[in-house]
Amino acid sequence: MLDTLIQGVLLGGLYALFALGLSLMFGVMRLTNTAQGDMIVLGGFAAIALGSAMAFVGPVMIGLLLVVPAFGFGYALQRWVLNGTLGRDPLPSLVVTFGLSIVIQNALLQVFSADPRSLDSHGFNTQSVALPGGAAVGSLPLLILGAAVACTAALQWLFAGTRLGRAFRAVSDDREIAELMGLDARKVYALATAIACVLIVIAGVFQAMRTTVAPSDGPMLLLFAFEAVIIGGMGSFWGTFTGALVLGLAQQIGFRLDPGWGIWIGHLTFLAVLMVRPQGLFPKTRG
């Protein structure tokens, strides 16, 4: 039982990384990125391609090498594509990100074939840390959980304690007034998506190390990320983090009961939270 709980929390750590980018983009510009999952998979494949091209480089280095291109990709995507879709009507942004999702899936399928692949972690994924009481946890899942905590804390600090965070909150509250105060909302939005893409690539590298990535995985990852955001309650990164842990636990308990039910029970937990507490477990307006 304890083992299931620990596994659930560790899985939740990974889901938190999936969800933070989605939470950030929705929080700043009310944009639902339906390509979130496919962008995570793209990040994973980019790491795999880089890893096979430079076999001597470790996975952490690969992750660091990908941060800058991810930031640039996110900035350009928002600045020149997604900014044109923002507005009261959610349809254009949904169609464009959904189209992007189909493009990424099929491009990956063309380049890498449908086979699942994973990133060589040079043996790190088999190491474990002994816990008092005889249990042992994998070093990699523990590192992922640590990274999720660090990213959540960093985002929260960015929002609450920096000039950029103040700009994010300002354009989120009222774009017109923020622009009157001298902010260029289009650039602020572009920075938000750029940061979201950095989080996405971190999530992708970890996903590719921990298990495998396949071009068709994206939608499933998107749904997990989305469920974590809604369970946690919109508007707080620690809420998203907690929502991810709840989802991870629910799935792990489900898998324990019957391997075919894990994801299903995760979905049902999400629907139950939606029915009982539609505002999420920890609703909070940011800032």
Binding site: R30, T32, P278
Partner: protein, 348 residues
């Protein structure tokens, strides 16, 4: 044509003498719409005789395109008119298919009769589903409905009575010879297409349709005018589910085999979005044009597999960014054709 008498009233301060009441005429149709009706009836009559002179591959193609079209028409109703963008309509497509199959295989209902019954059952399921889905709005509604579709997919994948993940066959149609089966399926498909167009068109021209457009344009303002927003949205959601269920039931009567992955595939909604966006969202001509374009592209390029899908995705992005009205909208603006007018035009 409906005629209405209206009196225009100036604000009290505007004129000293009360102006004479103006006679206004409300136009609900135009020359192209009357021509479209005539052409449509003629096409339907010719189409109904197809089994006597056409090839069976034409009938199969028609049934398939009919399913895509009905599904897209209903997605257009939900998203383009109701403002509810859903990526989860495949839930009702699959439910319609499974309801038809279970009525046929287990309850002994003739599968052709089961098609409309399955559509009604799907609409009944949509009501409690809406109760959950309506807790989310905008983009989150879109993905929330997708989760609900996944719940149904995984649920049916775990039901061994309908074959679990590998699916099952429609055994109820055993003993009916191929020609009878194909022409009956074809006639039902034709009836479903005409019925769905009529249903959506009449709904949009009705008072509820007007209320729906008001809600899409501004929900708060609509509510302040006394429109029952929640009830109207619920009605639209149920009608859209009914249509999606009809499409699903029809598709699997033609296909004879069902599996959760095929029935609840997100591709159904992806193709519907593509057809509606290319054709023109928020107009009935949109899905008609979109379905024809989609079918042509499918015939010409589907052999290219991933490149074809990649192109569809790119085309959807480009059209959304640069041609928001779609092809039908562009034609209407450029040439003034309008085959299914739903607005009321005042003529002084």
């Amino acid at each position: 044509m409906t005629m209405a008498m209206m009196t225009m009233q100036h604000p009290p301060t505007a004129a000293a003498a009360p102006p004479a009441p103006l006679e206004l005429q409300v136009e609900r149709g135009n020359r192209t719409s009357r021509a479209a009706l005539a052409i449509g009836i003629a096409l339907a009559l010719v189409g109904a005789t197809l089994p006597f002179w056409g090839e069976s591959s034409w009938m199969r193609d028609f049934v398939e395109i009919a399913c895509y079209f009905i599904f897209a028409l209903m997605w257009n109703l939900l998203a383009g008119y109701g403002g509810m963008v859903s990526i989860g309509q495949q839930a009702f497509f699959g439910l319609g298919g499974y309801a038809m199959l279970m009525l046929g295989n287990f309850a002994g209902v003739n599968p052709f009769v089961a098609v409309p019954l399955a559509a009604l059952a799907t609409a009944a399921v949509a009501l409690p589903v809406a109760w959950v889905a309506f807790r989310l709005q905008g983009g989150y509604f879109a993905i929330g409905t997708w989760v609900i579709a996944e719940v149904f997919r995984l649920g049916f994948a775990n039901m061994s009575v309908v074959g679990g993940g590998s699916g099952t066959s429609l055994t109820a149609l055993r003993g009916i010879d191929k020609a009878t089966r194909e022409s009956t399926t074809y006639w039902i498909a034709l009836a479903c297409v005409l019925g769905s167009i009529a249903l959506v068109y009449l709904f949009l021209r009705s008072k509820q349709g007007l209320a729906l457009l008001a809600i899409r344009d501004n929900e708060v303002a609509a509510e302040s005018q006394g429109i029952a927003v929640r009830r109207t949205k619920l009605a639209v959601y149920a009608v859209a589910a009914l249509g999606a269920g009809l499409a699903g039931a029809l598709y699997f009567v033609g296909n004879l085999r069902i599996s959760p992955d095929a029935a609840f595939s997100v591709n159904w909604t992806a193709f519907a979005i593509f057809m509606v966006v290319i054709g023109g969202i928020g107009r009935i001509e949109g899905p008609i044009v979109g379905a024809l374009i989609f079918f042509a592209l499918n015939k010409l390029f589907s052999d290219y597999g991933t490149w074809y899908l990649l192109g569809l995705g790119l085309l959807a992005i480009v059209v959304t960014l640069f041609f928001k009205q779609g092809l039908a909208g562009w034609v209407q603006q450029r040439y003034g054709f309008e085959f299914f007018p739903t607005q009321r035009r005042l003529r002084l």
